[in-house]
């Protein structure tokens, strides 16, 4: 028999293990979400929705089809009832998935954890979780969802937000440039104390410069290949689900 302390330790270990397990399996799905997040951001920003609302939509509506349909309706200026009903009809399928998954999770998960873990049920997470041989724990499910949420919801929620990042980088470039000039003019200045600081700044300057241009060209490329990326997303989605052989 395990003592109480050992039991707690054991459950902590397996929780971490489950979390890592879920995170690992979410990688390919995140790969598939990446292009669609960009596509969504492009579409919404082109339609004239402010960036923070685009980000809000991505963060609160964790569903690709419903998100696209709802945003299209908002852009088209549809009524509230129309938007709500359309999104609801598209999302009814989650009811079936959630019902199916509720039979597969381990028993005795408290209510609030159920509310949390059901936030991230999408087509992809559901399929991966449903194909698991063992019962699903809370840690596993959150591991599966967290990365997706970050990828799909936040970091690429608008291509436009990347655009902003690029602009910040260029601004940063400007500051670094001034620092560089200052260093060059006053080698012994007290503000920038040592040579290594100067070198570090130069390095950051170069790096940010490169990243800035890289991001800009990336965005331009994405704007040009909008349809291409969407195709790629479809392919990713179809294959990443279809390929789950085990």
């Amino acid at each position: 028999m395990l003592t109480k302390q050992e039991k707690v330790l054991h459950s902590k270990h397996s929780a971490l293990h489950d979390f890592i397990d879920g995170s690992k399996q979410s990688l390919p799905i995140a790969l598939g979400y990446f292009p669609v997040s960009f596509t969504f951001g492009l579409m919404a920003v082109k339609g004239g929705i402010p960036v923070w609302i685009v980000i809000l939509i991505s963060m609160t509506n964790l569903t690709s089809a419903g998100q696209f349909a709802g945003t299209n309706l908002i852009i088209a200026g549809a009524g509230l009832a129309e938007i709500t009903i359309t999104t609801f009809v598209i999302n009814i399928r989650y009811m079936l998935m959630s019902l199916s998954l509720s039979q597969k999770i381990v028993e005795g998960i408290p209510g609030y954890k159920r509310w949390i873990m059901s936030f991230g049920i999408t087509d992809e997470t559901f399929t991966v979780a449903a194909m698991q041989k063992k019962d699903i724990t809370f840690s596993y499910m959150t591991g599966l969802e967290v990365l997706l949420y970050r990828v799909g919801g936040r970091y690429c929620s608008g291509c436009y937000s990347v655009y902003h990042t690029a602009r910040i980088f260029t601004k940063f470039n400007g500051y670094c440039f001034i620092c560089n000039v200052y260093c060059a003019c006053n080698p012994g200045s007290k503000e920038i104390k040592s040579c290594s600081d100067c070198g570090r700044l130069c390095y950051i300057y170069k790096l940010s410069n490169k990243m800035g241009t890289c991001l800009f060209s990336c965005i331009r490329w994405m704007e040009n290949n909008y349809s291409h990326i969407y195709c790629m997303y479809n392919r990713c989605k179809a294959f990443s689900n279809g390929g789950y052989g085990k």
């Binding site: 399996q25 790969l31 929705i49 402010p50 938007i83 019902l99 873990m117 049920i121 179809a238």
Partner: protein, 103 residues
């Protein structure tokens, strides 16, 4: 602007509720064999519906889609990991697409 915000909130509610309701309401395992069997087949039905018409039309040409599908099926049959299957299939379909559109 205000209207948009309300629309977004309604969308969020309507997205969250279908997911959380079954999970929060049904806390015990369902005993009925009929329903359990039905729910057991849901993943396969969902997979089939998600993949099948889409996979053939998601690329520019049917041929590249078929080749990509073939690669995915072969790799999945030999039980390669999900990442390997997805990346290989996408790469192959992409290359085929490039070749076909050039010819």
């Amino acid at each position: 602007m205000n209207n948009t915000l309300i629309a977004v909130l309604l969308m969020a509610l309507v997205t969250y509720f279908p997911r959380v309701l079954p999970m929060a309401v049904i806390k015990n395992k369902i005993k009925s064999r009929f329903i359990t069997a039905f729910l057991g087949y849901v993943p396969y039905a969902v997979l089939g519906a998600m993949i099948f018409p889409d996979i053939l039309t998601s690329t520019g040409h049917l041929l590249s889609a078929l080749i990509g599908l073939g690669i995915a099926v072969i790799l999945a049959y030999f039980e390669k990991s999900l990442l390997k299957v997805a990346v290989c299939a996408i790469a192959v379909a992409y290359i085929c697409e490039m070749i076909i559109s050039r010819v």
